[in-house]
Symmetry: D2
Subunit: 282 residues, 4 copies
């Protein structure tokens, strides 16, 4: 498996350049970013310079944030589609094959109509980026308070997300499996070992505090190994099933950490290394 770092958990990160350097220093293989950060890097170094910089640091772009607002109005959705083409072009230039996006586990819309709308939109986007070799990683959101945020529950666990991906029927759409969403949604190890690895597009890793499952908050995450989630079992299950992709740390916290990005990246690198070793991954 490949170690990755999102920006969440690195504090006030200056820019993508710093992100890459910190990843390299702490034995991380890929960074997750967005189209704008990549464009900024290209402005600073040129496209070839940017690629060379990544190569020198032996870091790759793991995933790019999906630039399309696909969960709200039709207007918002269609207005963003040209951005998707732009970002897919950049993704291809950097050899990045994954766009990450999540969907809320509750909605004020009628859930059936919401599902139909979202399905249509994801299909459109999947088709549009297929030619660039890009995939969409769909992240379900597990925490109980998020399921209650809007009037009606929507999809919020792994098995139902996989059923949805199956219905979407586009080969380049898979699940983004995040340990805290898996845990808070009542996920079991067997839910992971039952997956066809081709359906797992990306993995996020983070930990949760010692609280009843229903009280864990989406932005109350801990660094891997600092909480109570069985991350070793989580990673072993992914290994057993044949997943060989990225496992990227994403630590959302209510308040931004006070430590410097350097210190946070070191802490992240150590946390990742430890949990990988315990899971027999390195």
């Amino acid at each position: 498996m490949i170690k990755g770092l999102t920006r969440d958990g690195l504090g006030n990160l200056k820019n993508l350049e710093t992100h890459i350097i910190l990843a390299a220093k702490n034995d991380i293989d890929v960074v997750d970013t967005d189209g704008n950060a990549l464009r900024e890097l290209i402005e600073a170094k040129g496209i070839e310079g940017a690629k060379q910089f990544l190569q020198e640091n032996q870091v790759q772009i793991g995933a790019i944030q999906f630039p399309v607002d696909w969960r709200n109005s039709d207007d918002a959705f269609y207005n963003d589609l040209p951005d998707l083409l732009e970002d897919a072009k950049i993704a291809k230039a950097f050899g990045c094959k994954i766009f990450n996006t999540f969907f809320m586990p509750s909605t004020d819309q009628d859930p059936l109509q919401h599902l139909m709308k979202l399905t249509n939109r994801i299909k459109i986007c999947a088709q549009m980026i297929k030619g660039y070799g890009c995939n969409i990683a769909l992240e379900f959101v597990g925490p109980y308070h998020m399921r209650k945020l809007f009037k009606n529950e929507f999809i919020w666990d792994l098995p139902t997300t996989l059923e949805w991906i199956d219905m979407i029927g586009e080969p380049n759409v898979g699940v983004l499996l995040d340990s805290i969403h898996w845990y808070t949604s009542g996920g079991k190890i067997e839910d992971i070992t039952a997956i066809d690895p081709a359906k797992i597009a990306y993995v996020h890793i983070n930990d949760g505090p010692e609280l009843p499952r229903k009280e864990i908050l989406d932005n109350g995450r801990l660094y891997p190994g600092e909480g109570i989630i069985d991350l070793v079992g989580f990673l072993k299950a992914l290994k057993d099933v044949g997943y060989a992709g990225v496992v990227s740390q994403e630590v959302l916290t209510e308040k931004e950490p006070v430590e410097s990005s350097e210190i946070l990246a070191e802490r992240s690198g150590q946390a990742m290394a430890e949990v990988f070793v315990k899971a027999g991954l390195q």
Copy 2:
């Protein structure tokens, strides 16, 4: 538009042969039946004899009942798929292009999972019969008491059914629009005139008693023109939108009518003729 007769409203109909003769006598163009009745007719007359009999009576097969239990278990569904192939072969032999089926407006299942399951199954069936030139006409069920029959509401009106058909995305799946379901679901003339006629696979016609909309029962239907539904407006809207297919009478009643099929067929023919004339269709 083409006039059709289902078996519902014709009392204790002996067999398909009688069905065809009664249609012919009462100026009806097509009959709706099922694979078994067609097989029985073929046994009696041979395939060529059956076709000739239809031709002599100037009656065609309008639609065949979908032979697949697609609304319950996976086992039931897959067990029925060979029957679909059999019936599609027969449909093709008779030049019939439509399979009719309905879905319940409520379910004991989780509605989102129900939607995903049903979508997958309809896609499979649509693909399987495509090569035979066959289409699936999906009928939503409007009466209020049916929406409350099971724990959770599912899809029960025209606009949402069309959204579903759009998501299913198979060119040979359209809506079966039934006047009583349209009326009881609160349908408006504008809902019909907004449809792309290519999405209307079939039409059922029948009337409803003078009761509040929510009290009309699924099996409390009347012959066209005997009730309070604006069937003239209904047909005119279909004409305006360019629909040129079948409009088939289907009168479900709690108790089977006591009159003979001959009398009921005459009553049906007259009812259909009158409402067609009033709508300017003939």
Copy 3:
């Protein structure tokens, strides 16, 4: 059926405003144009003014030229996709549901790879414009010299185009049936009466000179009724099959006609009126 006018056959047409006025004067219901002409009209009159102008003239926008170069390189294709979104927005604003495009009947590419590439691209575009209520009308090109223009023959007749549309599998992709392509590809009346009308997205009408079929040139077309194509049979077959959409005149000529647009539009209107009357359409 609805009478339409493309720009081909109207000589040096000043702009869309003139196009609309000439259509109105000559009893034509719709005009076929492109996104740029519509934008120019909007600049001149505002969006509401443009709509009002159409309404006053009782003319509608029948079809818009597909703004995507989908027959060449991947780069060209992807660069044009944002334009498709722009034009779909405009199409929707004007209630226009059709994008017209053609494909060449020969290619220098490997035909199998060409088919796969073009299929993928049309699917992407069909998905992108579906939410705007728009359809793609795919026009095959029949003239013999065009089949020999490039190294390998591709698709050039109605039955194979329909097979392709079937394989594309998008409900909003249909055939654009042009009388000269039908004639030069050896089309028969029975090829038309065999079509499901839902698969016909648009119709072009024009005539061909008294030459052997293989010698008729793509840009050697005549006004309807001035040549040897059985346009009355063509239109009757479309009527029989239930087609109720647009039949739009498109007269491509090697040299631009010397007459004024006014005279050419009158000639077009008369030609269209005559052939419609002969086919029993009005």
Copy 4:
């Protein structure tokens, strides 16, 4: 990677029971068979007995032969579809997820129409078996004499097969990569390392004699390591790309080998073991 054995290369194999025993004895993990052989095993041992027998031998069912004649007439195709449902049920019962099938590299049909027909059929089958968790592994056939067997060339190499699978667009359709087809079609290591491993459904391994590429015959195969194909490079490339599925020996020969199945299985097991070791797989 997982070691597999087809029946080709094992001589006059008595039945599936023997197939399983010989696999077990020679350190092979899975056997490739067909629905009939599985039914025979079930008749002999009962379904639970059959599963237990496999478990005791620590052998699994790797792939089942696709029971559908999908390359010829519509009738043949549709007649076989019920068999596919039967075999998918059996596959699921044994935890087997792969149906193997090949397509000829030449055809007497028009290649474009052939491609469209085959695409439609594979889509139908892929949809039908999806609910059983089954996938289709599509095998291209490389030898030059096979490309010339019929009038027109069809698809016969890896990159074009992948384009086709992409166009088919069903997540449960992938490529069956066979070393002799890869070699004779002019395949390079880079063609393998360029693949998304999720697109590789199955792998066949065998060797070819020291002949010019164009002279190697489809039924002139050798056991792995006995010929000139760079099988170590082949397997290393598969490993590099992340393929973790089955590599199954398939040695088609003009005449059935004279040795006993026991001796041939031993020879196969040794050949597989050696090439796996050389590729660093064990």
